[in-house]
Amino acid sequence: MARLYKNLGELYKYRVLLQNLVSRELKARYRGTVLGFLWSFFNPLLLMCVYTIVFGFILKPKDPAFDSSPWFYALFLFCGILPWVWFSSSSIEAANTLMINGNLIKKILFPAEILPIVTVTSNFIHFSLGLPILLIFIFVFGKTLTWYALCLPVVILVQYVFSIGFSFLISALTVHFRDIKDILGNLLTFWFFTTPIVYSLNSPPIQQHQTLRTILSLNPMTHIMNGYHDCLFYGRMIDWRSLGITFGVSLVLFYCGYAVFDRLRDSFPEEV
């Protein structure tokens, strides 16, 4: 634990590098595209359209939360997809980041844990660029934004810690077991559907199924998603208790992820 504190203190010295690497990541990502950083808006928007058409218009949700309105449903989707894309892109990029930056790890002395932090952070920037769009849609679709929206940073913080912990774990392990990259893609798809994003926890099939509810509540992302839905879509107070527990879980994951990362650190220069 003491080592963790010491190393995190060390990281603070590298904040300028972190900041520069993130901005490099952002600049490099859309370099050469016509729309540039507008893609940060369009990507989740297009994804939302696909889900709205498939689930909203073709499958038609029976959920009372949406008043049978495909537009409300679209909004609900958007509230979930935006943070999910943040989480899943961070994880996928984290799996590759040590390998992609292998040259750095081999040739330059700097704390490698910066790299997964950079992936989570740069994806966070994309996420926050998407937020204004979400707010616009909330108004366009006739929902009202309540004061509870101010709880949003709390939810974001929980997800941030969780994502970084997960990224530490994934990035360090992938160096040794490249299989993880393939496993991760499938895992994330599974995870996506076991998180209330395309459906709400209040929908009748879930409410009637006790085991299913229990399983879903074991998923930390469920509570994080509920947080987003509560403060943005429903406009109500977030569930402090479950979000608090999730934050605890996130801290544990952060610690474990970091411990694994730290344990494997010396092997990176020769394995990447």
């Binding site: 520069n20 490099r24 600049k27 490099a28 370099r31 002395l109 700097f110 010396d266």
Partner: protein, 435 residues
């Protein structure tokens, strides 16, 4: 004061096989013993008990063959790799020129890369802003600094990388063979900078295969062999010992290749007529009816030692074992030396030098003694022949034999003419370091 101190440093690398990796993954998942199952198949000892002290302000050269552990040593000193056992102490800020421009991102501009790379190497943003113009000017990239790095040539890339690294202004500079890729104009500039560092009493650890530069700029040299210190001391002595060792190795290699190349062709079953015109292009040839036969050719030093690697200033003896099946009155012995491009560097024969043949019979030796080889570095092929004065061949060997000329000299051309330099009093040089 000691800038770098290594005490009994050993570095062991682990090799994993693909099959093993799969097993560890499985066992890691099944048994959950992730760390215990990471046992390697094979251990490679890159550094074996290295103890070394580098005094502050010293330029320390590291030489050795590929795979002798030079780069590993640099990585350990820089902190990128950790020693498996042993202790390392470093006093002062380090900048490692292990690979130039290692952190460059191809999609963003040179300007942005300078900042990121500089920060990674330990500069603050303010320092970079202050030194930015100097960095760009040194790299000669004023016009291109805002273009994405992917559009740079490899030379531009390297120049920018070097320029950033050298401007970190470290107390200890580690240089790993980075000058090998620079062009003729840039390398002297880099060497100037390194000289500048030496004058300011900074510590430099310098890895290079360019032995001439090593013996010129280093105060002391370490020769690493198979991860161990083979020799440590004054540059000239260590470089010479190293060259000697390399020469012995090359000698053995040559001997081996020679044995393989000559063995099948000297078989008597080879009919002289069996050499068709189509084989003219073949590099190695032998023709003639062998009324007089060259049985064996040996290359020796002037002291009579058999050898295949020569120094340009050294002499060489070409010894031919001759056997005449029947006595003859018309014969000429000749030699020819060709370089690897097939250019004839020298050729002569007894007829051209007005030796009048009288008689030959039985076995004997024909020896050509060259007092001073005077060739530049490279591989050379030797033709030897015995023929009649009208050109009718008894036994003609083309390209059967080869030898190597190797030295720290860097002169060019075909032959190394004996020469000295003299300058009048107003033209002054520092005398070259090597003798």
């Amino acid at each position: 004061m000691v800038a770098i101190e290594l005490a009994d440093v050993t570095r062991i690398y682990q090799k994993y096989s693909a099959r093993h990796r799969f097993q560890t993954f499985k066992s890691a998942l099944v048994k959950g013993d992730l760390f215990r199952s990471l046992k390697p198949d094979e251990l490679v000892v890159a550094l074996d008990g290295i103890s070394l002290q580098v005094e502050k302000g010293m330029t320390f050269g590291l030489i050795g063959e590929n795979g002798s552990g030079k780069s590993t040593l640099l990585k350990i000193v820089s902190g990128i790799a950790k020693p498996s056992s042993g202790r390392l102490r470093v006093n002062g800020k380090i900048s490692a020129l292990i690979e130039l421009g290692a952190g460059f991102h191809p999609e963003i501009s040179g300007r942005e890369n300078v900042f990121i790379n500089g920060i990674m190497l330990g500069l603050s943003k303010k320092e970079i802003t202050r030194k930015f113009d100097e960095i760009v000017r040194f790299a000669e990239l004023e016009e291109f600094i805002d273009a994405p790095v992917k559009t740079y040539s490899s030379g531009m890339y390297m120049r920018l990388g070097f320029s950033i690294a050298i401007n970190v202004n470290p107390e200890i500079l580690l240089i790993d063979e980075v000058l090998a890729v620079g062009d003729a104009a840039f390398v002297p500039k880099c060497l100037d900078r390194i000289d500048d560092f030496r004058r300011r009493k900074k510590t430099i650890l310098f890895v290079s295969h360019d032995l001439a530069t090593v013996s010129k700029i280093c105060d002391r040299v370490v020769w690493l062999k198979n991860g161990k210190i083979q020799m440590l001391g004054e540059p000239k002595r260590v470089v010479d010992a190293y060259l000697q060792d390399v020469a012995v190795r090359q000698e053995e290699d040559f001997q081996e290749r020679q044995d393989q190349a000559v063995a099948p062709t000297t078989e008597p079953s080879l009919e002289p007529e069996a050499v068709p015109d189509a084989a003219e292009e073949k590099r190695e040839q032998r023709w003639g009816k062998r009324e007089i036969e060259i049985r064996k050719v040996t290359l020796k030093t002037l002291h009579g030692e058999e050898k295949h690697v020569f120094h340009p200033e050294e002499g060489m003896i070409i010894e031919m074992d001759i056997a005449a099946v029947e006595p003859a009155k018309d014969f000429v012995f000749g030699i020819g030396i060709l370089n690897s491009q097939g250019i004839s560097c020298y050729g002569t024969n007894t007829d051209l030098e007005d030796f009048e043949p009288v008689a030959i019979s039985g076995e004997g030796k024909a020896v050509c003694r060259i007092e001073r080889l005077g060739l530049i570095n490279g591989t050379y092929y030797l033709d030897v022949a015995v023929h009649k004065r009208d050109g009718y061949p008894y036994d003609y060997h083309r390209n059967f034999y080869s030898f190597l000329v190797s030295s720290t000299f860097r002169d060019v051309g075909i032959s190394r003419l004996p020469h000295t330099w003299d300058f009048s009093s107003k033209i002054r040089f520092k005398p070259p370091a090597r003798g």
